[in-house]
């Protein structure tokens, strides 16, 4: 009786063991299949990943150099680099980079993969590159906002269409419903950036404008800054000319205004300014036609006229400069990659931007 009972127990144990072994085999097969075919680190992907790493090393190393030729622009570039071979970011090269079509940049970098490049400062905020907060694939978005901007035109409206285009493109409102120049100057402190077309200010209004700029305001101003034929405003001497038959020549590559050195500009009006400014374009007699300068905590750009005969597009260039001036880039953590991707490699390089530590980040993906 006892012998029969023991035999029964052993048989039950054998059944349980077989069941266990089969269960483990099925489980292991499922596990191996899962990791082989569904994870993003399968054997094929490792090859792609290594290729991505190699390309991102090559692209980031290229960016950390000066490029070729050393003072390249988007017409002459053969190799893209954004420093002066000295770990210091060259802002002009950043601006030129933003003007290179993305497909062209992929060719120049020698990569087939999509990429996005951005710079971030010590506070992890994005640093603007032209009119964008980074450069590369359109599938990447960053958090951007725009400063309050306004447009004032007294006698001419050469920039009206550009303002309309900007409003549509950026989805912002550029305030322009001023009843008078006094109305504009009384409310100007609500705006970070103002584009003024021949404002013809009185002496007291000029003082109001100076107060706005010195406390951090930013203005683009054209033609007749003041109503008088000459006088001091915003720290420079303004002079009106009665006749105008001179072409101005671009002599300085400005970061905001994408004008090329040597370009000839024929403004409709030829007033000029004199003072401690950075001259961007000058008349043959050495008078300043386009210039920029800092006044207090703010900045000023002056143009003899927005209406010019020019092989390029001065108004388009001013529009781009306007857009770049009001752009505020958000935090680097706001960078989002839309759509699906297989592998992604992030490369970080350290460098200096305006003498402060910064980080150049490259995302590259398949």
């Amino acid at each position: 009786m006892l012998t029969i009972k023991i035999k029964n127990i052993n048989k039950n144990a054998q059944m349980w063991f077989m069941d266990f072994v089969i269960g483990i085999i099925i489980f292991s097969l499922v596990l191996v299949t899962y990791y082989t075919y569904t994870t993003n680190i399968s054997k094929q992907d490792v090859v792609v990943l290594n290729d991505l790493i190699s390309d991102s090393k090559s692209v980031s190393s290229s960016l950390m150099l000066a490029g070729f030729p050393e003072n390249w622009d988007n017409d002459t570039v053969q190799r893209i680099g954004v420093t002066g071979n000295n770990q210091k970011t060259n802002e002009t090269k950043l601006r030129h980079l933003s003007d290179i079509p993305y497909k062209e940049a992929k060719k120049l970098f020698g990569t087939a993969y999509d990429f996005f490049i951005f710079l971030e400062d010590e506070n992890r905020s994005l640093i603007s590159m032209g009119n964008e907060c980074g450069y590369g694939s359109r599938n990447v978005s960053a958090n951007i906002t725009f400063k309050n901007a306004a447009y004032f035109n007294q006698a001419e409206n050469d920039m009206q269409n550009e303002m309309n285009e900007l409003e549509q493109k950026l989805g912002i409102n550029i305030y322009r419903d001023w009843s008078s120049s006094s109305n504009m100057l009384n409310n100007i402190s609500a705006y970070d950036f103002v584009l003024m077309e021949t404002p013809q200010l009185s002496a007291s209004q000029a003082t109001q404008l100076e107060s706005y700029v010195s406390s951090g305001g930013f203005v683009f101003v054209s033609e007749q800054i003041i109503s008088a034929n000459g006088g001091t405003v915003l720290g420079v001497e303004y002079t009106k000319r009665t006749s105008c038959s001179q072409n101005a020549t671009v002599i300085y590559d400005d970061l905001f205004l994408t004008l090329k050195k040597g370009d000839k500009i024929a403004p409709g009006e030829c007033p000029y300014i004199f003072g401690s400014v950075t001259t961007i374009a000058e008349f043959p007699d050495g008078k300043t036609s386009i210039a920029k300068w800092d006044y207090g905590n703010g900045s000023v750009y002056y143009f003899s006229d927005f209406d010019v005969n020019f092989v390029g597009d001065l108004q388009g260039s001013i529009k781009d400069a306007f857009e770049a001036s009001i752009l505020v880039c958000g935090k680097a953590s706001g960078i989002r990659l839309k759509g699906n991707y297989g592998n992604l490699v992030k490369t970080e390089r350290r460098l200096l931007f305006k003498s402060k530590p910064a980080k150049l980040v490259l995302y590259m993906w398949q």
Binding site: Y35, I53, Q87, L352, P357
Partner: protein
């Protein structure tokens, strides 16, 4: 009651085996992280410190040393200045300069150290978990109290050359 107890132990054991297997399989299949970031970190750091002049770099500590007259040669790079402090046996200033300038450049997740001729000037105390990379530069300069523009018959005393090494690790 006893059957219920056996069932619970059985399920706990089974669950334990399942979890152990998943963890084991995951660690077996996981790719090791590439180490090139650490290598770039040490290279970029030494290149940046040897490119930035003390008068150009926006740093509160260095600015204070310039304004109180401790730093006299404004053309010195940050690395030159650290070596100069070290050569003058001013280890505290060398250490503070290194830590202040590099703080915003190196994330907290990295360990790193600056050594001059194998003597540690500054070290961020973090254990080495994955990998360590090192970059070196040779620096020399004019010794303290010596003028750069002395005559050939009366040349200034020089210090160095010394090997400055930056190690970065994760």
């Amino acid at each position: 009651m006893k059957k219920g107890l056996f069932f619970t132990i059985d399920s706990i054991l089974a669950a334990g085996i399942v979890f152990a297997t998943i963890i084991f399989a995951s660690s077996f299949y996981a790719e090791e992280q590439p180490i090139f970031h650490v290598s770039y970190m040490s290279k970029d750091l030494i290149d940046t410190l040897s490119a930035a002049n003390v008068q150009d770099i926006s740093n509160g500590y260095i600015d204070s040393l310039i304004s109180d007259g401790t730093i006299t040669n404004l053309d010195n790079t940050v690395l030159d200045q650290i070596v100069e402090f070290w050569a003058n046996n001013n280890m505290e200033r060398a250490n503070k300069t290194a830590s202040n300038v590099t703080a915003p450049l190196v994330p907290d997740t990295y360990g790193f150290s600056i050594l001059i001729d194998d003597e540690t000037i500054y070290s961020r105390d973090k254990p080495i978990a994955k990998s360590l990379a090192s970059s070196k530069k040779i620096i020399s300069g004019v010794a303290k109290g010596q003028q750069t523009a002395q005559t050939r018959n009366n040349p200034p005393k020089l210090f160095g050359p010394v090997i400055v090494e930056i190690r970065a690790w994760q």
